[in-house]
Amino acid sequence: MIPSRHMAKHSQTEAIQQAIEVQELAPPASGLPSALRRWRRWRQRAVIPYLFLLPFLLLFSFFILVPLLYALWTSFFVERLIGGTTFVGLQNYQEVLHDGNFWEGVRNVLLLLFTQVPLMLGLALVLALLLDSQIVRLKTIFRLGYFLPYAIPSVIGALLWGYLYSAHIGPFAQLAELLHWPPPPFLTAAGLLPSIANILTWQWTGYNMVILYAALQAIPPELYDAARVDGASGWEIAQRIKIPLIAPAIVLTVVFSIIGTLQLFNEPQIMTAIVPNLIQDHYTPNLYAYNLAFTNQQYNYAAAVSFGLGAVVFVFSYVFMLVTYRRGQR
């Protein structure tokens, strides 16, 4: 969706440029031999741009394309104690499809995707609208305060909440004890997923809010001043004018959240150290792939699991973008 729009624009400019070049070419202005001119034009059009792109493309190839292709390649093999490495085609993928551990991890991240992400983005949108409205003062303090958790490495965030959840040194457990209540069940089998959801909400709401807030600030106020004069309430303006206008920013936050949530790793990895018996090595697909590779040395199967996850990520972001795009077209 994103590139297609650029493409439209660029093919247009390209056409104009070509038109100009054709015009320039028509009368042989100078006495240069045509081969030299052609080389100059070729250099201008292809060599220099690719030279400029070279640093990026080199690193991109070496650290994204090559590892990807290499992983794809290894995922077609199996390493056995006897017999060494053998080509097995798609067998690893077949195994992933029937791997209960993989799907359990997928279920966990999907659960987060359908509960935590709407909650977080809803909250981010409400906060952004409130800070954009005229009823609030001291906006800077609120905005900075909400954004603060984003400045904290997610590992540190997870560590921090691990302590806050603790039944021994956590303030919530201490408060509960004071009131003679049982300690809150943060780090239990049932409470774990909500606990992780809370860490994610805490860490990322402000970030999403800033994206939405910035988009709101970019709306020219004239667009809703008329509505305000006509007596439209703040809520109506938000619903009818502001939210539709910042739809692209909302789509962006959703896509980022889909990608980030499905690839969840840091929080459960840190939680493993805190509650080792609660988090299995396959709590999320990413954690599963990591443990397969680095604990069990099953690189081939780990690669297949990673691509399985990649497919899930692709399907969800693609379907989401397709749906919103279709809706936008109507």
Binding site: F63, Y146, A214, A273, P276, F307, L309
Partner: protein, 309 residues
């Protein structure tokens, strides 16, 4: 973007009509305002309280962590001793991690933003065969899960003997597809074609046009990518976790996670609790200061990524 907060645009007439419309619902307006403020303050407490706990806890001894209420200070102030412990524990390994994090983040951020700016400029302002295809491939790579990359990156790096070197963390961090996307969008907006064409007519080489004209005009975008990459590298956990296993090359995130693991496994070494807590506080401070002072840039960065999508 420069919008004057509470002044209603549209002149005095609109302003009076607006106030009269408002006066009707003034009473309900006040309670609504109060409720909204209450909600915003509660949310502020939610977002800030973990940090407050971190600050308070960094001033406590291990015993006090268990025996005193977490959200208020203990009678004695133990911060300096904790800081001393953090910086001297295990022959001052924490200082190594701190320098590593700073080194990785600074080098990666500078390199990545320069490379991304050059690439973004090229995509935006030079037309060449294969442009949209190459760009689409780069954009598509944003969706690749980081494990799908980290594990093979580790294998590739170990093949060329780079595992357990600073380059193993820096080189992959130099690739920011999202940065290229941001710089392309930014360059399209910020660089007038006329200006570049004028320079071309004057005979400036393409490199000179980029280096002495474009780069200067792209400076705000450059700083934004710089900040995003700095934060990304400083906060990165997965990549260094995978490509280093020598504590001498750990950044703060991996080092602290390691201390945390130790503190949870061996109940005897509870001293590590204060180390992890105080160390976390130290690791958080540089970015918070940076964010406060460079607000303008991160905000504009997050914006121009979303405005034109």
């Amino acid at each position: 973007m420069a919008r004057i907060g509470s002044l209603p645009a549209g002149g005095p007439v609109a302003a009076t009509r607006q106030t009269s419309a408002r006066a009707v619902g003034r009473r309900s307006g006040w309670t609504l305002r109060g409720l909204v403020l209450l909600f915003l303050v509660l949310m502020l407490v939610y977002f800030v309280i973990p940090l407050f706990w971190l600050v308070v806890s960094a001033t406590k001894t291990n015993d006090e962590l268990f025996s005193t209420f977490g959200l208020w200070f203990a009678p004695d102030f133990h911060l300096l001793e904790n800081l001393h412990d953090v910086f001297t524990y295990d022959d001052g390994i924490f200082v190594t991690w701190l320098t590593n994090s700073a080194y990785y983040a600074v080098v990666s951020a500078l390199g990545a933003s320069l490379i991304a700016t050059l690439a973004g400029y090229t995509f935006a302002k030079l037309s060449f065969p294969g442009r949209e295809l190459v760009f689409a491939i780069i954009l598509g790579s944003i969706m690749v899960p980081n494990t799908a990359l980290a594990i093979p990156t580790y294998l590739v790096l170990s093949k060329v003997g780079l595992v357990n070197t600073p380059l193993a963390i820096i080189l992959p961090s130099l690739v920011t597809p999202f940065g290229v996307y941001l710089m392309r969008v930014y360059a399209e907006q910020a660089l007038p074609d006329d200006l570049l064409d004028a320079a071309r007519v004057d005979g400036a080489s393409e490199w000179r046009i980029f280096w002495s004209i474009a780069l200067r005009l792209l400076a705000p975008g450059f700083v934004t990518v710089l900040l995003l990459t700095f934060v990304g590298t400083w906060n990165n956990f997965f990549l260094p976790l995978v490509v280093t296993n020598n504590p001498a090359y750990y950044p703060l995130t991996v080092g602290l996670a390691n201390w945390n693991q130790l503190s949870q496994t061996f109940s005897g070494s509870r001293i590590l609790y204060t180390l992890v807590i105080t160390g976390s506080l130290i690791s958080v401070i540089p970015l918070m200061i940076g964010f406060l002072f460079l607000q303008r840039y991160w905000q504009s960065g997050l914006t121009f990524g979303s405005l034109r999508s």
